[in-house]
């Protein structure tokens, strides 16, 4: 019966079905075209022009890119800061998150309580927690952190005042904020590892450390790769923490001596404070290129060291 129906009015039927299909995807596709697809192309075009909202755009070819790479020390400063930030935050965050995930995955009491604690930063806005931390890191003896340092006999640190310690302070806050997110993904990964592997290892007389090294880590590789890629991408886009923790301390958005200038904060300053939108578009495409390249390298790096089972 269904076979029969299909052949009889198949053509009409698909047409009706298709009309519905296009109608169903229309809202998502139209919005996508206006606010993603066209902007991505437009941004590419803009990156070859000089443009500020007020005047017409003027084609300058590769000049923006040339200026950025050869005559813009602030770009290099921003790139350097962003790379330092990424190299600091990503390995620390992932290794701490992994240790926490392994610890929570054990048979322990108060599991849900611990989970809730690490869950809190995930649902708190970056703006809010950066503000709290800015104030915990307040200078001299008034900040809580410095007070604790003095109590244990150390000297207070000018966390957000000394240009050399501003970026590390922001990194600490970013690690704190991203820890829970990484931990929950790694925990989900851990829970997909079948118990039989651990049982087998135990029968073979493996120690806890050996079980972690030879069972957990290799089987967790896909999850680790995902966390690594996402963390690196997020790190290269760092903006909010740096913006909030240095707000009001300098004319631009980079903090004292641009010590917290990141690629995205530089892009924001150029595009939306100075309205050099062509130049900012070029910065955006450079950021895109860097993220793309680094992601490729990450995938390569992890896959070449693959262990076969």
């Amino acid at each position: 019966m269904p076979e029969n129906m299909k052949s009889k009015d198949g053509v009409v039927k698909t047409l009706i079905e298709q009309k519905h299909s296009y109608l169903f995807i229309a809202p998502a596709v139209i919005l996508f075209c206006i606010f993603v697809f066209i902007p991505v192309l437009a941004s590419f075009f803009l990156s070859f022009t000089k443009y500020n909202i007020l005047t017409h755009s003027r084609w300058v070819g590769l000049d923006n890119y040339y200026q950025i790479f050869f005559h813009d020390p602030r770009f290099w400063k921003a790139l350097r800061n962003t790379v330092v930030y990424t190299l600091g935050v990503v390995p620390l965050s992932i290794s701490i998150a992994l240790s926490l995930a392994v610890a929570i995955d054990q048979k322990i009491k108060f599991k849900n309580f611990y989970k809730s604690m690490f869950f809190m930063p995930i649902i708190t806005s970056v703006i809010a927690y950066s503000i709290i931390w800015r104030w915990l890191f307040a200078g001299e003896k008034y900040g809580l952190i410095n007070h604790l340092l003095i109590k244990i006999g150390s000297r207070p640190v000018d966390w957000l005042i000394n240009p050399n310690s501003i970026l590390p302070t922001i990194m600490i806050v970013a690690i704190w904020g991203g820890l829970g997110y990484n931990m929950f993904i790694l925990l989900a990964g851990l829970q997909t590892i079948p118990q039989v592997f651990y049982d087998a290892a135990e029968v073979d007389g493996a120690s806890s450390w050996q079980k972690f090294w030879y069972v957990t880590l290799p089987l967790l590789r896909p999850t680790l790769l995902f966390v690594l890629i996402m963390s690196v991408i997020n790190s290269f886009q760092v903006f909010e923490q740096a913006y909030i923790m240095t707000a009001g301390t300098s004319e631009g958005v980079g903090g004292v001596l641009d010590s917290a200038l990141t690629l995205v904060s530089y892009l924001y300053e150029k595009g939306f404070q100075r309205f050099e939108m062509g130049y900012a578009s070029a910065l955006a495409y450079i950021l895109f290129g860097i993220i793309f390249l680094v992601t490729l390298i990450n995938i390569r790096l992890v896959n070449t060291r693959r262990v076969e089972y």
């Binding site: 991505v40 649902i123 809010a128 993904i185």
Partner: protein
């Protein structure tokens, strides 16, 4: 190894685990407690040395002052309004599109879907400038339109719904067709009820990301009464120092209510995180 030595080893390991987790948990909660404690301190006590977790004269005056000085209620309303509409519309539009991508056959389906998917890979900074120009030309700066419309149907949601709907057996849909259901009826009667768990996750997830969204509002809103909560916090923060106590109280008001609500919705949010995590 005899039993007692195994036992002592075990308890030593669990001691390490508990110490580690408790230290971690303390680090996580300490800023929140400090914020709460400070928000009920009178001005004089905030500045005293040494800083203390104890409040000698707890007061709610800073809260009254905050709502008196700033349209905090308005900020909260703005954020709530935007996040609710965006979350609800995403649930509807994304599941609708997800259904078509999962169960319909039409020319260009896979190409369009791949193109949509690529949106997830592109860093948002690339679209920022043209989106701003588009929104400006539409006359939407400083309006709800700018904050709501561009986010109504996000690619991630379409992807999530499509994955989920693919697991629904075709027989159910075919049976409904034979019974004479229209396509929209099929969506409403069969698909929608079946994907409720996925939609719950998507809705909560979208709400959360909109509630916390910062960069886009920062760019398109310059009008005080249109500010969202994170934006208002950021403005207060840039006058850091002069308005010390206010910033902390505002941060408390912005953080604590949603924190409590979302702690109850933890399951769904973790699901959302791991779904993007493990399928990506």
């Amino acid at each position: 190894m005899n039993i007692t030595s195994i036992k002592t080893q075990r308890s030593f390991v669990s001691l390490i685990i508990y110490t580690f987790l408790t230290l971690g948990a303390l680090t996580m909660i300490m800023p929140y407690i400090w914020m709460l404690v400070t928000s009920i301190k009178p001005i004089g006590e905030i500045q005293t040395y040494p800083p203390s977790f104890l409040v000698r004269h707890p007061t709610l005056k800073p809260y009254l002052e905050l709502f008196h000085l700033l349209p905090m209620g308005r900020y909260l309303f703005n954020s709530l309004f935007i996040a609710s509409i965006v979350a609800a519309c995403n649930a509807f539009f994304c599941s609708l599109a997800g259904y078509a991508f999962a169960k319909h056959i039409f020319p260009g389906r896979d190409k369009i879907f791949l193109l949509l998917l690529s949106a997830i890979m592109i860093p948002y900074q690339v679209n920022l400038i043209p989106c701003y120009i588009i929104v400006k030309n539409l006359g939407w700066l400083n309006s709800f339109y700018a904050l709501i419309i561009p986010n109504l149907a996000m690619a991630f949601g379409v992807f999530l719904c499509r994955q989920y709907i693919m697991s629904i057996p075709n027989d159910l849909i075919d049976a409904a067709k034979i019974d004479g259901c229209s396509e929209f009826m099929i969506y409403r009667i069969i698909i929608f009820p079946l994907i409720k768990p996925a939609l719950a996750t998507l809705t909560i997830f979208t709400f959360l990301s909109q509630w916390n969204s910062f960069v886009w509002p920062l760019i398109v809103i310059h009008n005080n009464s249109m500010r969202t909560v994170p934006l208002a916090l950021s403005v207060l923060n840039s006058q850091f120092g002069s308005n010390f106590a206010m910033v902390i109280v505002a941060a408390t008001v912005a953080t604590m209510p949603v924190l409590i609500v979302f702690l109850f919705l933890q399951k769904y949010i973790i699901q959302g995180i791991t779904m993007t995590g493990l399928k990506g």
